[in-house]
Symmetry: C2
Subunit: 262 residues, 2 copies
């Protein structure tokens, strides 16, 4: 046994207790103070790291609200006013853009620790949907407070710049993966990334539950769901993976990394 939380712990209940939604159903979500932020020790915050840490600490001086989202429900949608950033405290989500022709693209699968909502900063309106893949909790960071802080503190402002730029770098890299790699390489690359992020969140990088469907993965990687399924089967018979529906175990991480050029 190692010290990682075992996969079953990853499974947050899809049916939260009544208390979680006491203040109202979807549309008027429950908002409760985030204990960790009140205590000034929310370990999740990317804003806390990397030097310019004043952003989140200062905001933590006030009561940071928490919001819960049930599986399949949106945290925000394209077209919504951009009023908050969200720190994904627990759970996971998918980000989805919709072209006016109707085609959809899942651009990311954020998990615990991720900052959500920056897509709204250019125009003041969100440009994508953020949909929970499981019962999730976010800390709410009002953008007005954040911008006010940035106005006072150049280091905080630079940090915000860097966070936005980080998203650009993420998409630029994903672009390369989609433009240059074959389906099998994309899948391998995706799984390595997922594994790394599981590790960064304190879970086992080798064994975890997929929160998204094959169709979500396929869409995200620019292929069809049957192709994802077939490649999973192929990697399974090559003893690189053990997959069984949502359960995934990486048996040969080195082979997977090599395959994904990672």
């Amino acid at each position: 046994m190692n010290s990682y939380r075992i996969p079953v712990v990853l499974e947050t209940p899809d049916r939260p207790s009544a208390r979680d939604f006491a203040a109202g159903p979807y549309g008027a979500p429950a908002r409760t103070p985030c204990a960790a932020s009140v205590a000034g020790k929310c370990a999740m915050s990317r804003l806390c790291r990397d030097g310019a840490d004043s952003l989140y600490r200062t905001l933590s001086g006030q009561t940071v609200l928490r919001r819960t989202i049930r599986r399949g429900e949106p945290l925000y949608r394209a077209g919504d006013m951009f009023t908050n950033l969200y720190q994904l405290h627990s759970g996971s989500a998918k980000l989805r853009i919709t072209h006016y022709s109707g085609i959809e693209q899942i651009t990311a699968f954020p998990m615990a620790g991720a900052l959500l909502g920056l897509d709204g900063i250019e125009t003041g309106v969100h440009t994508c949907d953020a949909v929970a893949l499981e019962h999730s909790m976010v800390c709410v960071l009002p953008i007005d407070d954040l911008l006010a802080l940035c106005g006072q503190d150049p280091a905080a402002a630079l940090q915000l710049n860097k966070m936005i730029a980080h998203e650009t770098a993420y998409y630029r890299n994903l672009l390369l993966v989609l433009a240059c790699m074959k389906s099998e390489e994309r899948i391998a690359n995706f799984l390595v990334d997922l594994s790394d992020r599981m590790a960064a969140s304190g879970y086992s990088p080798k064994e975890f539950m997929l929160k998204m469907t094959r169709e979500d993965i396929a869409n995200h990687l620019g292929m069809k769901l049957e192709t994802v399924s077939r490649i999973f089967t192929r990697l399974k018979s090559g003893r690189i993976l053990d997959v069984r529906r949502r359960y995934l175990k990486i048996c040969n991480p080195d082979a997977l990394k090599k395959m994904g050029n990672a």
Copy 2:
């Protein structure tokens, strides 16, 4: 005749005059004051538009330097220190990222008016190469001056945020194009975008010279150069385009837009 500059004018000389490089060869580039910026009327600047315009105007108070780049030469490379932003005053370029596995991806083809260099803001080091596709000129905007200005002026800081976020939006959209569309649709989409940007730069949106090779286009759109060539031929026989090497005429813009979901 219409009022657009005719295509031949687009062809900037690949052999600049000796004067352009009087101060030195590549590596010690010539830098001369930009007359338009000194006069406070550089019409190119995106930073001048969209409300929060103090960024560029304030910087224009000092002498903005200009730099020339010959075809095929880099304005900056991945790994270079991030010291300046560049306003592409004339000419065009390609942005290229290189994965550590060696694969390369052309992520954009900026043209006159574009702001280059923001890829360096996250880490302080450039993450892509910016290579001139023809003899080009840029205005040099030192990033320290820019950040100092943003520290004083919250509106300028917000504007910088938005410019970075704009890149994110660009890449996210390109991601969708690569993930969801077939080769022909990608090409059509690409040409419509190119046409729109030619128009925005004051040229004819219907008739212009391509500054990039088939291979560049193919790489950018995640396909092979033969495929680009074949699709050009197909669109030509469909009376949608007239292509002959670098010359391109859009005969049926509506059909092209429809084909590119644009």
